[in-house]
Structure formats: structure tokens, C-alpha cells
């Protein structure tokens, strides 16, 4: 086996002499003391280079390829989630046109839409997709530290998606219990998919967690133990910080989901009573007894709330970098931003039961969880201020990437404010399970992170493919998506206020029907348009791959390492012969006294002597 692994000569550890003579630039050994960087303590990594099509592109161990694989599979799953949402909107807006859909179908679509979007789309895309592609590049590593495990991680995800989608084709169809899967109804007859459907869902989640753990260990150890010379934690781009912290959350939160899924499967297959109290089903007393349904809710939300930050933190990180690069200004309050990410991450383990105010839990909990929930709003708000302050007096390039960034800030503020409403028990009780909650979390974790993904795609596409995406098409894409998404979710706040409940197949003849009907039609129209607008992006990508404008090296004049690879797109091993040496943070933009408006992370101090660079 081992002889398959080539030990490339150029990748051998450099001898200590060349190292102590400082960074790459000097050569003759006359490098000034200021440029000195401690020698390498991490040995060079040998990489397995694929030889055939299969080892190069399918069972590939290169984190960049794995990242793209994750990205594509997550997007594919996301498109299924999008189609499901169209079907739901068809039913809500135009019930006559959706005659083929029964209430059972509707519940199944709601459930699968929610689960797909949160776990299989956003989580996989941010951590698996962006994480894999960007972490090794941004910290200056050759690859993830355990490339083989990384590959297995993707294929576990692949199987998990397969099992999830298989549940559409089993008798009874997928589960229709809502993405929160609350027992007892989840596994009782009458709930669609209470047989095979829920079982496959649990299995798929367990596989996802197992696969993610393999990937997650990679991301964490790469960030902690495999940075390049000079790369301190406080010189990492915020993107890496966001993804890193989100991965920590995932490693600690997914266990609760795993345990919950396992126990639910046992309740279903073996008839244990973990979550099942004594209960009647169609008038008949079941064998179950004495279990605790609320325990599942606690387990689920002990996972569920960190999960929303697993999606949000990478988005926070990425958006910070995009704003900084395209406003040509250093990120305002870098350290504060890092600490905010860490604090939000830590606090997110202490707020979970704010999703359970109406569940009948111990009434004292409302007090505890409302307090912790509102505390979390502080670091979150700090981040928003810092983004705005980064823009302030920046040399803003109003390109498509920047548009997505601005769209994100607006949407996120909107969703964050409704979060404060919902965090207060007395306000939440009437709003719970209405469209107001739907509006809140779609704004804050649906649309806002989606904007970030879009911005990131326009930003990093030149790196991945070597060509610029088309700006005009991009602007169409942005405005249709942004205005469309607002048309969808903004009215939903109002629907929530008048009391329209979520997860209802139809409104029957409740008093709010009259005012809700017209609005529902409008929302549905907008939803169709927004969904279709995503075709513009797909067209843009296909077109660009053929005739796009070549990007060349570092097209955005960014500072971070991923743009400084010897070849674009970067090759396996990322850095050619020599690893980069880092001298500064990635945010030295528009430094007074400097020749250009950016100073890359690898620029040694002697080259920028006399400028007012930040000390990092």
C-alpha cells in the first residue's frame, strides 16, 4: 500500500538553515530581524496523489475537490428542498391548482423541506463545502490533516443523502412530523411516514453525524495544529474563525441529535418507551408507557439551537471577509469580531429551551432561557455594528459581491430583531407556531446565510474556476432574489400577527382567512419567481466556464493566503515547493503610506517599512 504514496522531493521539510534566514523573499540571508519568523515545527505532509480519473475526481483525497463535491451534492439536495417549497406554496396560494396534493403530502413536504435545508443543505455547504475548500488554503496548509478520513466523510454524507431521498420511495413515504420530529406523534399511525419514513430519517441523520464527525475532526485539527509559519490564530481570516467555531459547535451538538435519533428508532422498532407515555391510538391503548416526550424536545433543541449557529457563524465569518475586501478597509474591530463569534458559540449551548416556551416544561425555565437568549443578542449586535462601521467611509466597490453583503446585513438585522421579540416568553406564547416564527427564522437563517453563500460564490468563483462570473447577470440574480425574498417573508410577519398557524395544510374557515388569502397568493407568486431566479446563477456558471473573463492571480486584490497560491486554480498540495510564511493579518487594506491599497499576508515587514500597518 505505502508505495502508492509518493514522497515528492520538493515537499521535504526545509533544513533549519534556510528557515532561520527568514521568509522567502530574502534569499541571500540578509533578512532584517523584523522579518524573522520562527522555524517550522510542523513536519511536511506527504500527500497521496491520484493517478486515475477515479482517484483524482471521485474518491479524491484533495480537500479542494472534496469541498466542491460537498458543494455540488448539498446544492443538489437544496434544489430538491426548493422544489418542495414550491409545492407547499402552490397549495397555500392556489389550493385549486394543487388538487393532486393531500394534507399528508403537505406535511411530508414541510418536514423534508425543513430538514434538507437546515442540515443537508446549509450545514453541509458551509462546513463541508466552504470549510474543505478554504480552511487549508487560508491557514497555509497543504491539505486537511487526515485526507483519507476527509474523503470518507464526503461519502458518508453521500450515503446519508441517499437514505434520506430513499424515504420518498418507501411505503408510506417520508416522515411528515415536522423537521423537529417531536414524538409521540412522529411514530404514531396517522402521521404520514410513521413507519419506514421516520426510520430512514433517523438512520440518515445518524449517518450524517458520523460522516460529519470525520470531516469536523479534520477541520479542527487543521486549524489548531497545521497552520503555516507565522499564522497565529489572531491572524486567521474571520471566515476560518466562523467555520472553526461552527465545527466546534457541531462536534458538541450533534451528539444530542444522534442520541435522540437512536432512542426514537428504538421506540419505533423495539417498542421501548423512551419518549412514549401511555397513549391511545385510534381508541386503542398501546403498549407504551411512562416515557418522556419532552426529553426528546430537550435533546433535539440542545442540538437544534447550536445548529442554527452552525449555519450562522460561517456566514458571519465569510461576510466579514467579503465586506472588508470589497470596501477596501480593514474589518472594524477584528478582535471583537473573533470574540463575538466565540462567545456566541459558547452561549448557544445555554439557550436551547427558548424553542420550548409552549411545550409544558418546567415554568421556571422561561426565566432562565429568556435571559440567556437576550444576552446572546449583545455579541450578535456588536457584529452587525462592526460590519456597518467597516463599510463606513470605505472605498466601496459596488459589485455583485458587495450587493449580496448589503443584502445580508439588512436581512439579518430584520431577522435578529424578530428574534428578540420571540426570546421574551410573554411575547412568544401568542406568536409561537405562527407565521411570525417562520418569518423570523427564514430571515435570519434562511435568506441571510443564503445571501452569504451567493456572495461567496461570486467572490471565490474566480479562484475555483479561474474566471469571473458575469456582473450583469449577477445583478439580475441579486435583485430578483433580494426583492423576491423580501416579498415572501416580510408579509409573513403580518400573517403571524393575525394568528395564521404554521404547518397548516389549509385555513378552513378561520376568521383570518379573508385577509390571508390575497397575501398568500402574493407570497406564492414571489416564491416561484425567486426559485426560478436561481436559474440565472446556474446559467451564469455554465456560461462563465466556457466564455468567462479570465481572472488571473488575486483578481480582487485580497490579502488572504488562498489568493496567493502559485497557480490559479490551486493545485493539489496548494503551495508548490515552499509553504507561505505569514507576517500579518489579512486586513491590511488602504494602509496610509503603502504603494498599493492592499498588503498581502506574506509581505514581510521590511517591504512596508514606513507605512502605518496594524500591528498584528
Amino acid at each position: 500500500m505505502s508505495d502508492e504514496y509518493e514522497n515528492k522531493k520538493g515537499y521535504q521539510a526545509q533544513s533549519s538553515e534556510t528557515i532561520s534566514s527568514g521568509s522567502g523573499g530574502g534569499g541571500s540571508g540578509t533578512v532584517s530581524d523584523a522579518d524573522y519568523v520562527r522555524p517550522s515545527e510542523v513536519p511536511e505532509q506527504d500527500l497521496y496523489h491520484g493517478h486515475s480519473f477515479i482517484t483524482k475526481w471521485i474518491f479524491c483525497q484533495d480537500a479542494k475537490v472534496i469541498g466542491v463535491q460537498y458543494f455540488l451534492l448539498a446544492t443538489f439536495t437544496g434544489i430538491i428542498g426548493l422544489i418542495l417549497s414550491w409545492l407547499m406554496r402552490l397549495q397555500l396560494g392556489f389550493p385549486e391548482a394543487a388538487g393532486f396534493m393531500t394534507a399528508e403530502h403537505y406535511y411530508q413536504f414541510v418536514t423534508m423541506h425543513g430538514m434538507i435545508m437546515v442540515v443537508y443543505f446549509l450545514t453541509a455547504l458551509f462546513l463541508g463545502g466552504f470549510g474543505n475548500y478554504l480552511i487549508p488554503l487560508m491557514v497555509g496548509a497543504r491539505d486537511m490533516v487526515f485526507p483519507y478520513l476527509n474523503m470518507v466523510s464526503f461519502w458518508m454524507f453521500f450515503i446519508a443523502v441517499g437514505v434520506l431521498l430513499a424515504s420518498f420511495f418507501v411505503p408510506g413515504g417520508p416522515t411528515g412530523a415536522g423537521w423537529t420530529l417531536y414524538p409521540p406523534q412522529t411514530i404514531l399511525e396517522g402521521t404520514p411516514g410513521s413507519g419506514m419514513g421516520i426510520l430512514l430519517m433517523c438512520i440518515s441523520l445518524i449517518l450524517f453525524v458520523a460522516g460529519f464527525t470525520m470531516g469536523g475532526l479534520n477541520y479542527l485539527i487543521t486549524v489548531l495544529q497545521a497552520r503555516t509559519r507565522g499564522m497565529t490564530l489572531m491572524r486567521m481570516p474571520l471566515t476560518v474563525w466562523g467555520i472553526f467555531t461552527a465545527t466546534v459547535l457541531a462536534m458538541l451538538a450533534f451528539p444530542a441529535l444522534l442520541v435522540g435519533s437512536l432512542m426514537m428508532s428504538l421506540d419505533k422498532i423495539l417498542g421501548t418507551s423512551f419518549f412514549m407515555p401511555t397513549i391511545l391510538q385510534a381508541g386503542e391503548v398501546l403498549e407504551y408507557g411512562g416515557g418522556s416526550p419532552i426529553l426528546f424536545q430537550h435533546l433535539f433543541w440542545f442540538f437544534g439551537h447550536p445548529e442554527v449557529y452552525i449555519v450562522a457563524l460561517p456566514a458571519f465569518g465569510i461576510i466579514s471577509d467579503l465586506i472588508s475586501v470589497h470596501a477596501r478597509k480593514n474589518i472594524f474591530g477584528y478582535r471583537m469580531m473573533v470574540w463575538a463569534i466565540v462567545v456566541i458559540g459558547a452561549l448557544s449551548f445555554f439557550v436551547w429551551a427558548h424553542h420550548m416556551y409552549v411545550s409544558g416544561m418546567n415554568p421556571w425555565f422561561g426565566f432562565f432561557f429568556a435571559t440567556t437568549t437576550l444576552i446572546i443578542a449583545i455579541p450578535t449586535a456588536m457584529k452587525v455594528y462592526n460590519w456597518v462601521l467597516t463599510l463606513w467611509r470605505g472605498n466601496i466597490r459596488l459589485n455583485v459581491v458587495m450587493l449580496w453583503c448589503l443584502g445580508f446585513i439588512v436581512t439579518f438585522v430584520n431577522g435578529g430583531i424578530t428574534g428578540i421579540f420571540l426570546g421574551n416568553v410573554t411575547v412568544d406564547v401568542p406568536l409561537s407556531d405562527t407565521y411570525f416564527v417562520i418569518a423570523h427564522f427564514h430571515m435570519v437563517m434562511g435568506i441571510a446565510p443564503l445571501m452569504v453563500i451567493m456572495g461567496a460564490v461570486y467572490h471565490w468563483f474566480p479562484l475555483v474556476a479561474g474566471r469571473f462570473l458575469d456582473e450583469t447577470l449577477g445583478k439580475w440574480h441579486f435583485w430578483l432574489t433580494f426583492l423576491g425574498a423580501y416579498s415572501i417573508y416580510f408579509p409573513m410577519h403580518y400573517l403571524g400577527f393575525i394568528g395564521v398557524p404554521r404547518r397548516y395544510f389549509e385555513m378552513y374557515d378561520s376568521p383570518y382567512v379573508t385577509s390571508a388569502v390575497g397575501m398568500n397568493e402574493f407570497i406564492s407568486m414571489a416564491a416561484f419567481i425567486v426559485g426560478a431566479a436561481q436559474l440565472i446563477l446556474i446559467y451564469n456558471i455554465v456560461r462563465t466556464l466556457k466564455i468567462g473573463k479570465p481572472a488571473g492571480h488575486n483578481p480582487w486584490q485580497a490579502n488572504s493566503l488562498e489568493w496567493l497560491t502559485p497557480s490559479v486554480p490551486p493545485e493539489h498540495g496548494n503551495w508548490g515547493e515552499k509553504l507561505p510564511v505569514v507576517h500579518r493579518w489579512p486586513y491590511d487594506f488602504s494602509v496610509p503610506g503603502a504603494k498599493e491599497d492592499f498588503i498581502t499576508q506574506t509581505t514581510p515587514p521590511s517591504e512596508v517599512a514606513g507605512t502605518e500597518v496594524e500591528k498584528t
Binding site: V42, P43, Q225
Partner: protein, 112 residues
């Protein structure tokens, strides 16, 4: 990190310390067994069980898993997340007491 030079430098611990810890673990296990043997009840049983448990866990982590000798950076990374579990335990105690209360109240007392 598979650096042989480094390993040769890393000194290992004297065998005595392992044997000591090993012996202590047996003794502590024996003690916790005695708690059951003598059928201690109530608070005494509780505190003894927990005391022996934490001592055993601590010894295993500190010496067998070498945490005592690891640098603080690693130790702290490993121990701080436990506060989340601590919070979870604390709240779930409150929760099961409330569940029992409601069950007794509605099923036994009859919700009067």
C-alpha cells in the same frame, strides 16, 4: 509530527506512578462496591457514590490519560465544554421533578 528525535527526548514516567494509580483505582472501586454491600442509603450513599466516581474518573484522566502532564491549552479545551453538560444535567433535574409533580398532580391527586 512523527518526529523520532522528539520522541527520544520525551522522558517517560516511572513505573511506580502507574502502579500506584492502578492500586488506588482498585481500592476506590472496592469502596464503591462496599457502599452497596452495606446498603448505605440516602444522602450518605449519594455522596459516597459520587465521591468515589469523581476520584476514579479524575485519576484515570489525570494519570492514565496523561492530562496531568499535558499543557494547559489542551486541558482547558477539553474541560470547559463540560459546563454545557453541567447546565444540561442541572436543568434536567429540575425538569424531571416538574414532570413527576405534574404526573402526580393530574394522575394521582386528580388535578384538584
Amino acid at each position: 509530527m512523527s518526529d523520532t528525535k522528539k520522541q527520544e527526548q520525551a522522558s517517560t514516567h516511572k513505573i511506580g506512578i502507574y502502579l500506584w494509580i492502578w492500586g488506588l483505582l482498585f481500592v476506590l472501586s472496592f469502596f464503591s462496591y462496599l457502599v452497596d454491600w452495606y446498603q448505605f442509603q440516602g444522602l450518605l450513599r449519594w455522596s459516597l457514590i459520587l465521591l468515589f466516581m469523581f476520584l476514579k474518573a479524575g485519576l484515570i484522566m489525570a494519570f492514565f490519560m496523561h492530562l496531568f502532564w499535558e499543557r494547559y491549552a489542551l486541558v482547558n479545551v477539553l474541560l470547559w465544554p463540560m459546563t454545557a453538560i453541567g447546565c444540561f444535567i442541572f436543568l434536567m433535574v429540575a425538569e424531571f421533578e416538574y414532570t413527576v409533580f405534574t404526573r402526580l398532580f393530574y394522575f394521582v391527586v386528580g388535578g384538584q
